[in-house]
Amino acid sequence: MGSKSDFPRVAVTGVGILCGLGIGREEVWANAAAGASGARTITRFDAGEHNVKIACEVPDFDPDRFVDTRSARRADPVSILGVAAGRLALEDADLDAGALTPERSGAVVASGTGGNMIRERQYKVMRERGPDRISPFAVPHSIANTPSALVSITFGLRGPVFSTTNACAASTDAVGTGGEIIRRGDADLVLAGGADSMVTPFWIAAFDAMRVLSHHNEDPAGAARPFDRSRDGFLIGEAGAVIVLERMDRALERGARIICELAGYGNSADAYHITDPDPTGEPQSWAMEAAIKDAAVAAEEVDYVNAHGGASQPGDPAEVLAIQRALGTEAAAAVAVSATKSMHGHCMGAAGAVEAALTAMAIEHQVLPPTLNLTDLDPDCEGVDHVVDTGRPSDVRVALSASYGLGGHNAVICMTRPAEAA
């Protein structure tokens, strides 16, 4: 992207997050650093007939704490999670929505498919009572752009507003694209992230049919085991995660706390298979290389990779190969890697944003969050320094967060410690 000095730098000044590990960044970080699991038995619906009965739901989520308008209360939980994360992020950045310049503030908030609960319920209405009984709110509250629209409406953001709906990579692309919007001068501030809840009867059944979900119903906390020989899939997680991206000079001017810099973004496509990743990891490595190059750092400077780590049999080894290709085998052997999905589950369209938030906090706290349940490393996943069980204090200057989505979407962002940003 041209010479770096030509473009504004992008600061991360706030983190808002709700996921299986808690609500708010302090609670989530404390749990992530301690190696806690957010997995539980499903409560959102009766999963009695489903093979999979576990997920990572947001605990004790009270929408009234976050949304006050009548229209927002009618919204799907997916949208409410997005608005809630946006509110927490602005608070964390010490920003009052009313004091923002609306035209220079945007929202890139992704979701996998939008309001799943409302869509499934309204489909049931159509089947049982006829097409003329569907609610007029079915469309606005189920389409995939609504989380971004409601964030814009709630906080009065009138810059660019959209969703990058790229399956499991969606909100890594949202964060990367949000950064690009600032770099190219179309906004000074972007609320970037994702919101999703696929803990619904249809999606649990459909992902289970793909054989990508763990069946360890009797041991929820031990179910998600990325890179472990006995892994059998992921748990679906709910989450809303939004980070505040600001033009670095503006953030410094207002005396904002700089959590880290969003320094680079890379994106590529597998063009390989409708459901499986390219086993060579090569296209994934291009996205990683592009993010590293965009950040103007060297491959050997990368200290930490927050891996996609979907705990699938073909996916995890391909990802380790991609890290080796991108960094070189020597640097790869020294790079710390963890898959935090082992704790918060696979938050689908919100996954990348949850992981970006944890990566930002890892840089802030100089502690790497771990991969849980990695007790018997799959030989095909060897070659990197896996962080296991509990948080590891570490000197973290340059970190990557990688996400890979169904359809062959590869997205990687690079975050750096603010000292490097100066």
Binding site: I153, T165, H409, N410
Partner: protein, 415 residues
């Protein structure tokens, strides 16, 4: 103003599939003739629906573009996307061979595999969770049209699916152009696909009262800016434009149709279904688009309006054009081609951009049909109601989506 080192983005290929035809020439002939693509819905039984008409892409055969296995395991939204992408790539005479990392796909969709998703929901309801297909997720998700284009054509550059309801594919074109500008790709296949003529999504749109119920006169139902309009006619289709850096296009001797000169995006921050009545954020998107193009309002020779034919949307858009163009507004040629191809949702913006590119190339502005008695609230611009010869150097295409997503792109003659 663009930085010297930032590449100029040109359009070198157009692929279009809609009720107006398959391929850019057939589509353009229909648009010039002012032909309506609307007819009674044939895809399913609409007897319990308020709106029973739509613009179906009847001339499209997925097997012309995909093998039988891939047709079976994917939704019509994917078929249409791959079809339009293949047509665009052929039109641009671009071959993918050793350059796959340089070419990306930004293909939007409002809802992805509507029809197949509904089929899988039926399976869940009728046969239980353990009978749902292993392909249920992959075939129904919104990004799969983009994914299938990438897979079928072998594109390994940036891949994305921006979603903003009815503005999705205008955002796709604008964001795709930025990927070229920032050096992430030499070429991007950008556009959108929508196969929205499916029982649930049509019923749900009908429930919002956005659809026309002029069932006895399908061809006259979509009537943007007309006093008797009563909503939009649902359309299906896909459109993909090949965007390239000028340098890349010139190096390979490609036919340059026009340039993608500017893109502006904004949010209303107002309401989930209604546009902000003052149109100020729509105006902001238009102004930003022109500013990025480095062009003035006096240079605009044609506006392809969003113009859906809804009672509330049309006056806001025309009011916005009057306020932005001021004294020039009465002479500003405006048309809404949705009057012919219907509202193709996530594919609408790209289809309209395709027609705007043809306008620039051919010197003919396509009309708004059925505009017989202009709503007094929609006057004040030069409504083009029959194909008109006009040399257009710079044109805009507006798209505004549910939720207040505004996107405007500028296309211009390649100097």
């Amino acid at each position: 103003m663009p930085h010297d080192s930032i590449p100029e983005v040109v359009v070198t290929g157009i692929g279009m599939i809609s009720s107006l035809g398959v391929g850019r020439h057939e589509s353009w002939l229909s648009a010039r003739e002012g032909r309506s693509g609307a007819a009674p819905v044939t895809a399913f039984d609409t007897s319990d629906y308020g709106s029973k008409i739509a613009c179906e892409a009847k001339g499209f055969d997925p097997l012309d573009f995909l093998d039988r296995k891939n047709v079976r395991r994917s939704d019509r939204a994917c078929h249409l996307a791959v079809g339009a992408a293949r047509l665009a790539l052929d039109d641009a005479e671009l071959t993918i061979n050793g350059n796959s990392r340089e070419v990306g796909a930004v293909i939007a969709s409002g809802g992805g595999g509507h029809g197949i998703y509904e089929h899988h929901l039926d399976t869940l309801a009728e046969r239980g969770p353990d009978r749902v297909s292993p392909l249920a997720v992959a075939s129904s998700i919104i990004n799969m049209p983009a994914g299938m284009v990438s897979m079928e054509l072998g594109l390994q550059g940036p891949l994305s699916c921006p979603v903003t309801a009815c503005a999705s594919s205008t955002h796709a074109l604008g964001e795709g152009a930025h990927m070229i500008r920032r050096g992430a790709a030499s070429a991007i296949l950008a556009g959108g696909s929508e196969a929205s003529i499916a029982p649930f999504i049509m019923a749900a749109l009908d429930a919002t009262r956005a659809l026309s119920r002029r069932n006895d006169e399908p061809g006259a139902a979509s009537r943007p800016f007309d006093a008797d309009r009563d909503g939009f006619v649902l359309g299906e289709g896909a459109a993909v434009l090949v965007l390239e850096s000028r340098e890349h296009a010139e190096r390979r001797g490609a036919p340059i149709i026009c340039t993608l000169a500017g893109y502006g995006a904004s949010g209303d921050a107002h309401h989930l279904t209604e546009p902000a009545p003052d149109g100020s954020s729509q105006a902001a998107a238009l102004r930003i688009c022109l500013e990025r193009a480095g062009r003035g309002i006096d240079e605009v020779g044609y506006v392809n309006a969003h113009g859906t034919s809804t009672p509330t949307g049309d006056p806001v858009e025309v009011g916005m054009l009057r306020s932005v163009f001021g004294d020039r507004a009465p002479d500003l040629p405006v048309s809404s081609t949705k009057s012919m191809h219907g509202h193709c949702m996530g594919a609408g913006g790209a289809l309209e951009a395709g027609l705007v590119a043809m306008t620039i190339g051919s010197g003919v502005i396509p009309p708004t049909i059925n505009l017989e008695s202009t709503d007094p609230e929609c006057t004040g611009v030069d409504h083009v109601t029959a194909a008109r010869d006009a040399s257009v150097d710079l044109a805009l295409s507006n798209s505004f989506g549910f939720g207040g997503h505004n996107a405007v792109i500028a296309l211009a003659t390649a100097a």
